[in-house]
Amino acid sequence: MDQIRILVADDDKEIASAIGKLLSIEGYEIIEAYNGLEALDALVSNNVQLILLDIMMPKLDGLSTMLKIREKKNIPIIILSAKSEDSDKILGLSMGADDYITKPFNSQELVARVKSQLRRYMLLGDMANIISDSQIIIGGLSLVKDSKQLLVDGEPVKLTPTEYKIIEFLMSNVGMVFSAEQIYEKVWEEPAYSVENTVMVHIRRIREKIEINPKEPKYLKVVWGIGYKIEKY
């Protein structure tokens, strides 16, 4: 596959065009669509590797378009919407989106997320082959226990031993919430006494390494007033 093709579907032509230009700079080929039907048509006639999809579009809205696409294709879909409620995000992700970016977006973040999704999509075939007991895959994260390595979208991330222990513990119990004390006792193997700050600082560092936008983490989440968890994907 020489060039990666991305479909940008947004009823606002200027936005579609801006995204197109941003991604062209990164070397991708862009197809623009201005409503859901156009997007579906474009998919028929083109081999597309990733879709950026707006929700509020005329003729066929983003979510319905996504359902139609998902009937046939498993390519990554990133929703790009002005709807910024948690409930909107959850709805979009549960209906089959791989990521959700709110407008107005930061262009670097957009590019990073697109790259992340593409990497995962491209590597998916390889990763599927090497799944074993010693490997935990959650979304774009994959933890290789044997080599004590964490891959984010296939790229290895440099972690300190403590950071690795924390992420290993949380990924082994994906979706479960652990308090700072529990994490501390598990990782440091010492009795925990006012460790909230210590743990929080480590969590923040890990987030900076594995998350595209550490302020809006996708994987490693703080459950405020309770603890920390790795989100299930």
Binding site: D12, L22, A82, P104, A180, M200, I226, G227
Partner: protein, 606 residues
């Protein structure tokens, strides 16, 4: 002249003096009267100068005749040795006398008081009035002479005159007192409640007492007064016109009681007359207010006023009342018609018709109510939806052009052949459009939370942990600011029910605010304590500028701690913090003390 008279007559002092005079005169009257009664004065001496002409003497004379006549029955026994008068009796040949004389002439010589009965005929003394003899019946065959001696009459006359001398001035005093009192009472009744300034009735505090209570008090006082007079009136028969010590004491007590009772009764009477004048005598009574309330209640039931608040069920209530009342009347007629057998079926038939009417129309009303209720709920939901839609749409419409702006500014920045000046401009545009993005985002967060259209995820969270996590999360910013954060948190968890994510935003905003506006080198204090089953968090910082605003002003939307408005941020931080705290179930407070800026957030403990 007329007004001057009015001003005097309506003067409080005048009225007061009149009242006091009435009390004194009335007390005098009663005391005098009781004094007279105690001494058993014979009031006849007032009108009749001579004892021998008096009714008293006539009675004495008559009883002497009857007494003597009575002696005859038991003659000659049982005749007392000592009598006030002289007699001679002759019957069945026996004769007796206490005078030593047996002749008719001797007895007739007492011209003022002699009585002769002989051969069935009555003969009186020369100056003896025939009216003295009321009735006399006896056997015809007796002879009876009776006479009072001049000495006896003389001594009686002396007593008579003494009494007369004492009685006349006292009685005149009493009569004068009564007349003056009555006049003053009439005056007082006329002027009470009136004032010189106007013609309206002025009430005093005593008029606040309900009419019934006033009357009851009046009659109670009168009863006590009369009872005390009856109880204390003790009239031993002394003829020397002297009072004994018990009588003196009793009269003094009666005088005091009378004075007090007169004051009270006077006050009550005047109050009553004021009320009558003001035409509130009946209105201002327990009975009246009770009746008017009952009346009002019944009226309100009938005319639907009572149910005007719940307009939906108004007709139901009215129908219910009609149903109950008509049923009651029908039951009454059923009992009445027991005596008239053919008619007894009528009330049940009417009752059935009534029940049919009641159920039929009630069902209609229920349907209406249900319809109305559904409609109102639908409307409410519609307006809720509209509100959410409005926020969402405005948000979308603002964000879409902003997305273009930000994207193109970014693309512009990627152009290589920009001049240095143009690059500066692009940087400014990028910075400002980013700020605009933050403001829009904050604005919608605030709009959603204040309008209640915010998704909340309540769970039990540890307040202490949340604060620690927030501080840990913001460590970079804290380090950058060069300020120190001092925490004082409890050892044990502080569990509250709240939305952790929102509460994190609250603390993030407050700490952010503190970092931005604190004086360099000062510390930010974050305390958490449990007071009265409440978790109270306080964030204190020393402002880097003079805070010339109040708590209220800072809470207003878009107000920022500094008036220059040049630094970054939307200015909505505190407003969002407040609004989020409130939707999360907590209380948000700000305290400004000199340069000390304090935020207090409290939650009920779980």
């Amino acid at each position: 002249m007329d007004t001057k008279l009015k001003s005097i007559s309506r003067n409080t002092a005048t009225k007061f003096i009149a009242f006091v005079i009435v009390v004194i005169l009335f007390t005098t009257t009663i005391v005098s009267f009781v004094y007279l009664e105690n001494l058993s004065f014979n009031y006849e001496s007032l009108f009749v100068e001579q004892y021998k002409d008096s009714e008293t003497f006539a009675n004495e004379f008559n009883s002497a005749i009857h007494e003597t006549n009575y002696f005859i029955n038991d003659f000659p026994r049982n005749i007392p040795d000592k009598l006030d008068y002289l007699y001679y009796i002759k019957t069945d040949g026996l004769e007796n006398t206490n005078s030593g004389k047996y002749t008719k002439e001797f007895f007739l010589s007492f011209k003022d008081s002699s009585f002769i009965y002989e051969n069935g005929e009555i003969l009186l003394g020369e100056n003896t009035a025939p009216t003295f003899i009321t009735s006399f019946n006896t056997q015809e065959d007796i002879t009876m002479y009776i006479a009072f001696t001049d000495e006896y009459l003389g001594s009686k006359q002396v007593n008579w005159e003494t009494a007369r001398e004492k009685l006349i001035p006292i009685v005149i005093t009493i009569i004068a007192s009564i007349i003056i009192s009555l006049a003053l009472i009439v005056y007082l009744i006329a002027v009470t409640g009136r004032k010189h300034e106007d013609e309206s009735v002025h009430y005093s505090w005593i008029d606040k007492i309900y009419t019934e209570l006033l009357l009851l008090a009046l009659f109670t006082t009168l009863s006590i007064w009369l009872a005390s007079i009856v109880e204390l009136s003790y009239y031993p028969r002394y003829y020397n016109f002297q009072l004994n010590s018990i009588q003196v004491r009793n009269i003094i007590i009666i005088g005091l009681v009378t004075a007090v009772c007169t004051i009270l009764c006077g006050a009550f009477l005047l109050s009553i007359s004021r009320k009558i004048k003001g035409k509130i005598f009946l209105k201002h009574s327990i009975t009246y207010s009770l009746f008017s309330k009952i009346n009002d209640f019944i009226k309100s039931l009938l005319d639907g006023r009572r149910f005007s608040k719940n307009s939906l069920t108004k007709t139901l209530h009215q129908r219910q009342i009609i149903f109950i009342m008509v049923s009651f009347i029908l039951v009454f007629f059923t009992f009445l018609f027991i005596a008239v057998p053919p008619l007894i079926l009528l009330p049940p038939i009417l009752e059935i018709a009534l029940i049919y009417w009641y159920i039929k129309y009630n069902n209609e009303t229920y349907e209406e109510i249900n319809k109305g209720f559904d409609e109102s709920i639908e409307e409410q939901m519609k307006s809720e939806r509209l509100k959410i839609d409005l926020i969402t749409n405005v948000s979308h419409d603002l964000k879409t052009p902003l997305t273009s702006i930000i994207s193109y500014v970014d693309l512009l920045g990627k152009e290589e052949d920009l001049s240095d000046t143009a690059r500066d401009y692009v940087n400014i545009l990028a910075e400002k459009s980013n700020r605009l993005k933050n403001i829009v985002s904050d604005l919608f967060d605030l709009a959603k939370s204040t309008s209640g259209n915010i998704y909340l995820d309540f769970e039990s969270i540890d307040f202490k942990k949340l604060i620690e996590q927030t501080i840990g999360d913001m460590e970079d910013n804290i380090e950058k600011s060069g300020l120190q954060i001092k925490t004082n948190l409890p050892e044990e968890p502080v569990n509250i029910l709240s939305d952790g994510k929102k509460l994190y935003r609250v603390f993030q905003n407050i700490i952010d605010n503190a970092l931005k506006y604190s004086l360099q080198g000062t510390r930010i204090f974050i305390n958490l304590e449990v007071i009265d089953r409440k978790a109270v968090a306080t964030i204190k910082n020393t402002a880097s500028y003079e805070m010339d605003f109040t708590q209220e002003e800072i809470m207003e939307r878009f107000s920022r701690a500094d008036s220059s408005r040049t630094t970054e941020g939307s200015g909505l931080g505190l407003s969002i913090a407040e609004s989020f705290t409130n939707v999360c179930g907590g209380e948000f407070d700000i305290d400004i003390d000199g340069d000390m800026f304090k935020v207090i957030i409290s939650f009920e403990l779980l």
